[in-house]
């Protein structure tokens, strides 16, 4: 059962990959199969179930595209 949830405002992502470096569980990768409206490969979460909602990805995102939720017990 996931403890957290992250939502990416995908079309605002510039594909810089800093969130990938910040996730302690390595749950984020750049989606190389897709291109967003800005022309970048957007970041996405590979396994939402393991997200703890620590918000590290959102804290390092230079474009403020990530919203983080923590799921109530």
């Amino acid at each position: 059962m996931a403890k957290g949830k992250v939502v990416f405002d995908e079309n605002q992502c510039k594909g810089c990959g800093l969130c990938v470096t910040a996730c302690p569980f390595k749950l984020i990768e750049m989606d190389e199969k897709r291109i967003n409206s800005k022309g970048y490969h957007p970041a996405h979460v590979t396994d939402l179930e393991k997200c703890t909602g620590c918000a590290n990805c959102a804290i390092i995102c230079p474009d403020v595209v990530i919203t983080v939720y923590r799921i109530d017990k």
Binding site: G4, K5, Q12, K14, G15, C16, G17, L18, V20, T21, A22, Y40, G53, A55, N56, A58, I59, I60, C61, P62, D63, V64, I66, T67, V68, Y69, R70, I71, D72
Partner: protein
């Protein structure tokens, strides 16, 4: 579900014009989060520099100004003297604050001007295309230092926090970095502290933020974070250079 992180009201909806991976966006965000958390958005006046952050006034969701290159501390002085109850801050890069604007920043600190300077040090001129900055490291290549900065020719990189901390009018001077989530949290704490000290009327405050420029450094955003840690942090040591409780320098 509880929201634990969302975009601050302190930023407008405008998309940052910065290059992918540029840490200016992080510094904009933590600056405006700090102001929002202090409940001072309605009192804040931000002054944008000339440099990459020249459009900062489009992102700050508060009253704002665009200053001539290096003059933001003088403009801030004019505003603060008219509206002493406003939270007045400048947002300046290393060319702006540490080259063309050294006179203005040093004298504002000497007057104990009750303003806060957010000083973004990325060791290069970004907007103009990667020229040598006063903060460019020895050996670091730039478009006007194609063989790397030579100490005998250009001198050593300027250390603004160390210099401003010697000024009696400076109440709070801290150097932080935005290379990891932990350091970003510390950077925001420092900025918030500086704003609080401005509100208390104790004097001039400055937070120097070590930042990256992947585009002009010629590396990926991830490598730029590593380069910052391995090259900038040993020279530009993080820590509190001036506060009422004394100084704590790391490293």
């Amino acid at each position: 579900m509880n929201i634990v992180f969302e975009k601050t009201k302190g930023l407008t909806d405008k998309t940052f014009h910065y290059c992918p991976g540029c840490t200016h966006g992080i510094i904009h965000r933590i600056t405006m989060e700090a102001i929002e958390e202090l409940g001072l958005l309605g009192k804040a006046v931000g002054i944008a520099p000339v440099g990459c952050a020249v459009f900062a006034y489009e992102y700050f969701n508060c009253d704002s100004y665009e200053a001539a290159h290096g003059r933001a501390p003088a403009v801030a002085t004019g505003i603060k003297r008219v509206h002493p109850d406003c939270l007045v801050f400048t947002y300046q890069g290393d060319g702006d604050l540490a080259a063309i604007g050294t006179g203005e920043i040093v004298q504002a600190a000497h007057r104990g001007e009750k303003i806060t300077a957010i000083f973004v040090n990325n060791a290069i001129y970004g907007m103009t295309g990667g020229q040598m900055a006063p903060t460019t490291l020895i050996g670091q290549k730039a478009t006007t230092a194609p063989y790397g900065r030579d100490e005998n020719h250009a001198g050593k990189p300027i250390m603004m926090s160390e210099m401003i901390a010697t000024i009696p009018g400076a109440a709070y001077i801290e150097r932080v970095a935005v290379n990891t989530p932990a350091n970003i949290r510390k950077a925001k704490k420092a900025i918030k502290k500086a704003f609080e000290i401005q509100r208390e009327g104790k004097g001039f405050t400055m937070v120097e933020v070590l930042s990256t420029c992947p585009t002009n450094w010629g590396m990926t955003p991830e490598d730029a974070l590593k380069w910052l840690e391995e090259n900038m942090m040993p020279y530009y040591k993080l820590g509190i250079y001036k506060s009422s409780e004394g100084s704590v320098i790391n490293g």
